[in-house]
Amino acid sequence: MSAEKQIWVWADYRNYFHSRVTLQILARATELAKANDAVVCAVVFGDHVDEYVAEYIAHGAKKVYVTDDPFLKTYNVESYAFLLSALVRRFRPEILLVGATRFGQEIAPRVARQLNTGLTADCIDLDIDDQGRLVQTAPSFGGNLIAKIITPQARPQMATIRPGTFQELPHDDDASGEVIPVPLPGNMPAPRVRCLTSELKPVRARKIETADIVITGGRGMGSKGKFKKLFDLAELINAEVGATRPVVYAGWVSHESLVGQAGKHIRPKLLFSFGVSGAIQHTAALADARFIVAVNKNPNATMMKLADVALVADANQACSGIIRAVKERIRH
């Protein structure tokens, strides 16, 4: 291989319209490539994946390694990990990035172990330091701390990236990229895990990770019944509802709604936070919220200190007040 430095992004296209994480990572990789004088490459496995290849080029990939084979039709972590490791050994990228989808979090550790290299999970930022190393920023120890991690010796430097962390680049129809077909190696092991069924479970049309307005509620809402009021407000202002860990654990809403280190990472233009004290597991996941309105009886709650506007009030009463105010002000 030439001395060309490459940054690889493993393409996770399954359920493409739902998860844009590959495009988001390509955007960040494009920035890193400038700092590191490297070439951004996507790596695509599957059966008839031409469309995706074109899409990744339109979103920043300068080269795309493609293994297109019926054997790869269904996502299989063993086969995919074997193949990805084989490609890395052959082409030696400096950096390998994978979206922190559940499948991404299955394949990446296996590849890292096969290659004896380091892997940082669920990064919320990536940078290149003055020595050209990848600085991987990840929440650590329950989100109470943020850690900056490097892989000084081993290569590639690997990280999984939390979906929603970066903004994808606009689709550029004029972008060009080199497509490098890589045939399936002859020594692919037979998969030891058999997938009997795999069905796409219908997903909700809207998603909290990408919503412009998010309403989060904490225990300060009072009860499961009162928490429902947040959904009334959400309906009115076209928002998504999220919750803190205690609320999810209390069974007021399902785990799907958890905003926090173990749940969803949000980046709304506007965040309403009702009765949330602001444990760091929760606040770490909303650092990108642009404007925060917080309501809490306790003016000293952490969440109130993070807010642009803090209303010292009972969360439940303030929610009713805001619903009333919106209804009065909405133009029909």
């Binding site: 972590v77 550790p109 172990r113 380091g118 999970a121 709304p268 925060i292 109130m304 993070l306 105010a325």
Partner: protein, 285 residues
Amino acid sequence: MLHVIVCIKQVPMVSELPWDPKTGTLKRETAQGMMDPSARRALEAALQIKADPASGPVRITAVSMGPPMAEEVLYEARALGADQGVLLTDPCMAGADTCMTAMILGTFIRNHCPDTGLILCGAMSSDSETAQVGPQLAEDLDIPAIGYARRLELADGGIRVERHVDDFLEVMEMDLPGLVTMDHADESDRYTPRYVALGGVEKAFAAGGIQVMDGAALGLDKEFNALRSSPTKIMDVYSPVTQKEGRVLTGAVKKMVDTLFDDYGKIISSAMGKDLKTHDHDEDI
């Protein structure tokens, strides 16, 4: 007999976490510990397999790598019904990243439990939440693995697992030996961890229940040092909270809400993508 290994991590219970600024690693020995919730579910799954007559005879070994205090979770596992607990502890294991943790657990299973049929782990621990140790342990042992199990059952000498991954509901099967990681709780939960029965406490402290192994006993290289051997290095650790110069409103709810909409109406309406009347407009129009 089916030998089930359950890998259990002791995680810090408190949010105030002491860490060593020199090495950038958590000082686990000074934090209050508890059994990681997803590992607890893995143990519950093992206990249910053992309780099912269709499984035949089952032996459960709970293993944990950590500082000496991590033996607490093994006593707890014994109290809940594990047949044996093994603590892997040695200063040379401190500072292990996921890669080295998997290597150490793998060394234990390879050298000391060659009859292992099934390995159960939590999908991700509640402290570092990497979800990496399970898959890396399977890689280390070169056995098949299925992650994020919601439901598992022994079937035809293998295991069948139901899981929900990236909006796909999947049913998978593999032969044993194999590794399964247990997902978080879902609504229809069949692996809600049990409580310790009174008799369990007595059993937990029965002689010979907990075995402690250091690096030498395990079969690690004399020179082994997990912190040095870990491919990742922590450069910096900091608290993510930043304070804003926010505006604080107090008083009657109606007055506060009016101020909110009068002064910040533009921000709210632009996020909504809808026009909102402000107080001023009401007077003007």
